[in-house]
């Protein structure tokens, strides 16, 4: 029986499988991925980052 509040966010990962060697998102990370207010902030940030990238790339 899972006894940790984050267990519901991580499915069983077979030990020593390739999937065992990476990071897994937990509840807070997943929440912010689709939190509309936070994502509006990120939308602006991504657009600024891409604009800077474009300006640096034209020669």
């Amino acid at each position: 029986m899972p006894d940790h509040k984050n267990s519901k966010h991580v499915q069983h990962i077979e030990p020593y499988s390739p999937q065992f060697g990476t990071m897994m998102p937990l509840g807070t990370q997943k929440f912010f991925r689709t939190c509309v207010l936070w994502q509006i902030v990120r939308f602006v940030a991504i657009n600024i980052k891409m604009t800077i990238l474009i300006l640096k790339s034209h020669h």
Binding site: I13, T22, F32, T34, V36, R42, F43, I46, S57, H58
Partner: protein
């Protein structure tokens, strides 16, 4: 009067031709586009067509009215040969074309030029892997392919709803493929569609790729600035797959495709098979097979093109080991070293070498991704070459005035991980520069402040915005020039 002929109307060719038509006086100069296609296709959104979230009509439009509005001469034909010195009967350089337009199929014509831009894109080389062209698998490389993929996917979902288990295999269909990003996006959209259908427990979803590690992306991997760490794209990509319960086969050269089964060889020499019910495998790319002839009719194809069919430009093609590769190997002007009025942009130019470290199996089979040069870099190349040609025509410049070197430009990649205005997600990645430069950026080889990655709804909004913005731009609707490449 100058005539500029653009072979191809994809992202790079369309960008070059439309800017040239806008900048040059149409009473004095002519821009000609030669493309076998009647429609323009925003290829990144084929992913959504491939899962039934968009229709073919939403990602394509007719080229003829757009070119008529722009004052571009449009010839629906395929380029067959280049004659950069003319011929016995024609003093000007010209290309020969063969029409594909209805009613003119097979008709040939010679089209003279003052400047030639090769933007043909790739030949989808399904024939490189036995069985890959035999209909056992699907692709999302064209809008029609994507429509077919969606139909096949729906059949599998129906089977799962009836209780059958299904295996989905998505990735690259050969050891020398590029465009892992398209497969990367597609597998996540397929996973989301299966999840939404409520049959995830019946699905096994497997990624197969020629990358030596997940997240190589044909760029030798990259490090993102993320959570206070320079985080490897390997960790980023593996996390995405593991979170969704998907497994992966990497370092794999698919050497045979049969009904419901692939055979593959891996970097460690293992020969194995994988069964599937549904497979979307990206084919390797090759040049489109244009030939070239000198004034007397002698074959000079090898002077203009590399053996893989891509056009040689101002790159350093001297064979050298990986340890000696430099960013300066990569072309800047995208100009033919032999004929100064010929340029190649987008996938059509021959890279000096791959970006990822060359690898092969113990049997000597090369298994490594080839360099990505689609999307944003393609459009930048198209605009840079158009700018150079404009300056050569209008200002009499003797050398290209603009450059578009993959070692000096970045790329933004927004990889959809599922559609939906409030439920969708995507991975927004930026990388600068595309070609790692360990002298300028010791450590990761890239500007860590310009190389970022994040997953979320905002990135999906960016992806959706790009879909509408670039189709708007390509249709030359009001304000199209202020939408950046």
């Amino acid at each position: 009067m100058a005539r500029i002929v653009v072979m191809g109307a994809g992202v790079s060719g369309h960008t070059a031709s439309t800017f040239l038509a806008d900048w040059l006086d149409k009473a004095e100069h002519e821009v000609v586009v030669v493309t076998p296609n009647s429609k323009w296709n925003w290829i990144p959104s084929n992913i959504w067509v491939g899962v039934g979230d968009m229709t073919k009509e939403q990602v394509t439009f007719d080229l003829a009215p757009v070119y008529e509005k722009a004052g571009i001469t449009y010839k629906q034909a395929k380029a067959v040969s280049i004659h950069p010195e003319g011929s016995d009967s024609e003093n000007k350089p010209f290309i020969t074309i063969e029409y594909t337009a209805a009613g003119k199929e097979g008709d040939s014509e010679e089209v003279t030029y003052d400047y030639l831009i090769n933007a043909t894109g790739p030949k989808l080389n399904f024939g490189a892997t036995p069985g890959l062209a035999d209909g056992h698998t699907v692709s999302v490389c064209t809008a029609d392919h994507a429509v077919h993929a969606s139909q096949e996917l729906d059949k599998c979902i129906e089977k799962m709803k009836k209780g059958e288990n299904q295996t989905f295999l998505i990735g690259t269909g050969h050891g020398m493929c590029t465009c892992q990003g398209a497969g990367f996006e597609y597998i996540f959209n397929v996973e989301q569609k299966i999840e939404r259908a409520g049959v995830k427990d019946k699905a096994e979803i497997i990624w197969v790729s020629n990358e030596s590690f997940l997240g190589d992306f044909g760029m030798g991997g990259l490090h993102f600035k993320m959570g206070g760490y320079a985080t490897s794209s390997k960790v980023f990509a593996e996390s995405l797959y593991a979170e969704r319960g998907m497994s992966w086969i990497i370092g794999a050269h698919v050497n045979k495709v049969e009904a419901n089964k692939i055979s593959y060889e891996t970097l460690d020499g293992e020969m194995d098979e994988q069964e599937f019910d549904f497979a979307m495998l990206i084919p390797p790319f090759a040049g489109v097979g244009i030939t070239a002839f000198d004034k007397s009719g002698g074959d000079i194809t090898s002077d203009l093109f590399a053996p893989n069919g891509f056009m040689k430009v101002d790159a350093d093609y001297t064979p050298k080991p990986y340890e000696e590769w430099k960013p300066t190997d990569w072309p800047r002007k995208l100009q033919s070293p032999k004929y100064a009025n010929i340029f190649a942009v987008g996938i059509a130019f021959a890279p000096p070498h791959i970006i990822s470290k060359p690898m092969s199996s113990p049997n000597g089979t090369p298994i490594n991704p080839t360099p990505p040069r689609t999307g944003m870099p393609s459009a930048m190349m198209g605009k840079a070459v158009a700018s150079s040609i404009r300056d050569m025509i209008v200002d009499g410049a003797t050398e290209p005035t603009h450059t578009a070197c993959m070692a000096e430009m970045g790329a933004a990649c927004v990889a959809s991980a599922g559609n939906g205005m409030f439920s969708g997600t995507a991975a927004a990645m930026t990388v600068y520069p595309i070609i790692p430069d360990f002298e300028k950026y010791p450590g990761t080889g890239r500007d860590i402040n310009g190389t970022t990655g994040e997953l979320g709804l905002a990135a999906h909004w960016v992806k959706a915005l790009l879909h509408h913005a670039f189709i708007w731009k390509a249709k030359l609707k009001p304000g199209w020039k202020i939408i950046p490449e």
